[in-house]
C-alpha cells in the first residue's frame, strides 16, 4: 500500500532521511494494554456525559429560575401610569359635576363596598400587561394624618393606607400627582 516518495530532490531526500533518523532515535514506548484503553475510554465517556449534563444545566437552570421568578413576581410591581379620569373612562356616568366626583362607584369595583365619592379626586392607573387596572386613591381630609384609599377596580379590592403605609410605587404615584406627598383638597391634581 505504501508507495515510497521518489526523492530525487535534496530537500525531499533530507526530509525522508531525517524522519527515519528521528524514528530511530525517538524513545520507543510500548503501547498501553487494551484493558487500559478500554478503561480510559469508559472514563472519557462518563466525563463527556457529565460535561453535557453540566452544560445543559448551566443553560436550563437560569432559564427555569428566571421564568419561575417572573411568574411569581407580583403584578403590582408594574410601573404606575397616571391618567386623568377623562382619559381613563371618558364615557363613565358621572354622579356629580363636582370636580371632586366623577369616578364610577360601582360595588363590584370596590369589593362590594361603596366609597364616599365626595372625597374622590383623582385616579391612578396601574398598567398590568395588556389590561388597565385602575387604582383609585382617595384623599380623606380628616383631622389627623392624611389617608389614602386605594381601590383596585379589576380585582375589586379596597384598602386604606396612611402615608407611611404606601408602597414605594404608590408613594411615587402620589408624588407625581401632587408634586409632593402632602396633598390637600385645595390643590386637586386635575
Amino acid at each position: 500500500m505504501m508507495t515510497p516518495a521518489t526523492n530525487s530532490d535534496p530537500l525531499e531526500r533530507c526530509l525522508v532521511d531525517q524522519a527515519d533518523q528521528l524514528a530511530k532515535t525517538a524513545s520507543t514506548s510500548a503501547p498501553p494494554s487494551a484493558d487500559w484503553f478500554l478503561r480510559e475510554h469508559q472514563q472519557r465517556t462518563r466525563r463527556r456525559v457529565f460535561r453535557r449534563v453540566v452544560t445543559l444545566a448551566a443553560v436550563a437552570v437560569p432559564l427555569a429560575v428566571g421564568g419561575f421568578a417572573h411568574w411569581l413576581s407580583p403584578s403590582d410591581q408594574a410601573p404606575l401610569q397616571v391618567v386623568t379620569r377623562d382619559e381613563f373612562r371618558p364615557t363613565a356616568p358621572r354622579i356629580s359635576q363636582s370636580p371632586q366626583v366623577g369616578w364610577t362607584n360601582h360595588p363590584s369595583a370596590n369589593g362590594g363596598e361603596s366609597i364616599d365619592e365626595s372625597s374622590l379626586d383623582w385616579i391612578v392607573l396601574d398598567q398590568l400587561g395588556d389590561d388597565l387596572v385602575p387604582v383609585a386613591i382617595e384623599v380623606i381630609p380628616a383631622e389627623g394624618p392624611v389617608h389614602f384609599v386605594l381601590g383596585l377596580l379589576a380585582v375589586g379590592s379596597v384598602r386604606t393606607a396612611s402615608l407611611e403605609e404606601l408602597s414605594p410605587t404608590e408613594f411615587a404615584a402620589v408624588e407625581t400627582l401632587y408634586g409632593s406627598t402632602t396633598p390637600t383638597l385645595s390643590t386637586p391634581p386635575f
Binding site: 500500500m1 508507495t3 525531499e12 533530507c14 525522508v16 503501547p31 487494551a34
Partner: protein, 190 residues
C-alpha cells in the same frame, strides 16, 4: 452477550493496537517533536478509534483511517494550545498586542527534532505540515494522502509544493542536507 466480555476490549481493537500503534506513534512524534506528546497523541488516536470504529466502512485501509484520526486529534490539539497560549500571552503582556507567535510547545521539543528539518516543518501551516508528514515521514502516495485528508489529489500536490517552497525559503542551503548527527534518546530542552 457474554457478560465476561462486556468489560474487556474487543478483539479487533487489540489487533489494531498490535499492528498499527508503532507506526502511529512514530507519525505522532514527527508531528509533535517530543516523546511525551507523541505518546499522548498516539493514545488519544486509539481512544478515538474505540468511539469511531462503527463508522469505519472498510473502504479505506485501517492505516488510512488511523492517520485521519491522528491528524484530527493533532489539529484539535494545535487549536487548543494556540488558544491557551494566546490567552497566556495576553495576560502576561497586559494586552494582546505583543503576543508571541512561536509554537506553544516549542520549548519541550527534543533537541534532535528541533535541529532537524522537521523542526522547520513545524513552523508551516497545519495543513501543509500534515501533508509533508504523510508524504515524507510516512511515505504515503498522493492518493492515500488525499484519502486521509479528505481532499482532492490536486490539493495534496499543491500543499506539498507550497510546503517545500516555504521550507526552501526558510532554511539556509547547508541546513537542508545536514543529517541528524546524534543517535541518542531525545532529551527535553526546557
Amino acid at each position: 452477550m457474554d457478560p465476561s466480555r462486556e468489560n474487556s476490549p474487543p478483539e479487533w481493537f487489540e489487533q489494531w493496537v498490535h499492528a498499527h500503534y508503532e507506526r502511529i506513534r512514530r507519525a505522532a512524534f514527527v508531528l509533535c517533536g517530543n516523546s511525551a506528546d507523541a505518546d499522548d497523541l498516539a493514545q488519544d488516536t486509539f481512544l478515538r478509534l474505540l468511539s469511531t470504529r462503527s463508522r469505519f466502512s472498510g473502504k479505506s485501509s485501517p492505516e488510512t483511517w488511523l492517520y485521519a484520526i491522528l491528524l484530527n486529534a493533532h489539529r484539535q490539539r494545535c487549536r487548543s494550545n494556540q488558544r491557551l497560549w494566546r490567552r497566556w500571552c495576553e495576560w502576561w503582556n497586559g494586552d494582546g498586542s505583543k503576543a508571541v507567535s512561536i509554537a506553544p510547545d516549542a520549548e519541550i521539543h527534543s533537541r534532535e527534532w528541533t535541529e532537524s528539518i522537521w523542526g522547520a516543518v513545524a513552523q508551516l501551516p497545519v495543513a501543509q505540515r500534515q501533508a509533508i508528514v504523510l508524504r515524507y515521514a510516512e511515505q504515503l502516495s498522493y492518493e492515500e494522502i488525499a484519502e486521509v485528508l479528505e481532499c482532492p489529489v490536486g490539493t495534496v500536490r499543491s500543499r506539498l509544493h507550497a510546503a517545500t517552497a516555504a521550507l526552501r525559503e526558510r532554511l539556509p542551503p547547508d541546513a537542508v542536507l545536514r543529517p541528524v548527527e546524534k543517535e541518542t534518546i531525545p532529551c527535553l530542552v526546557r
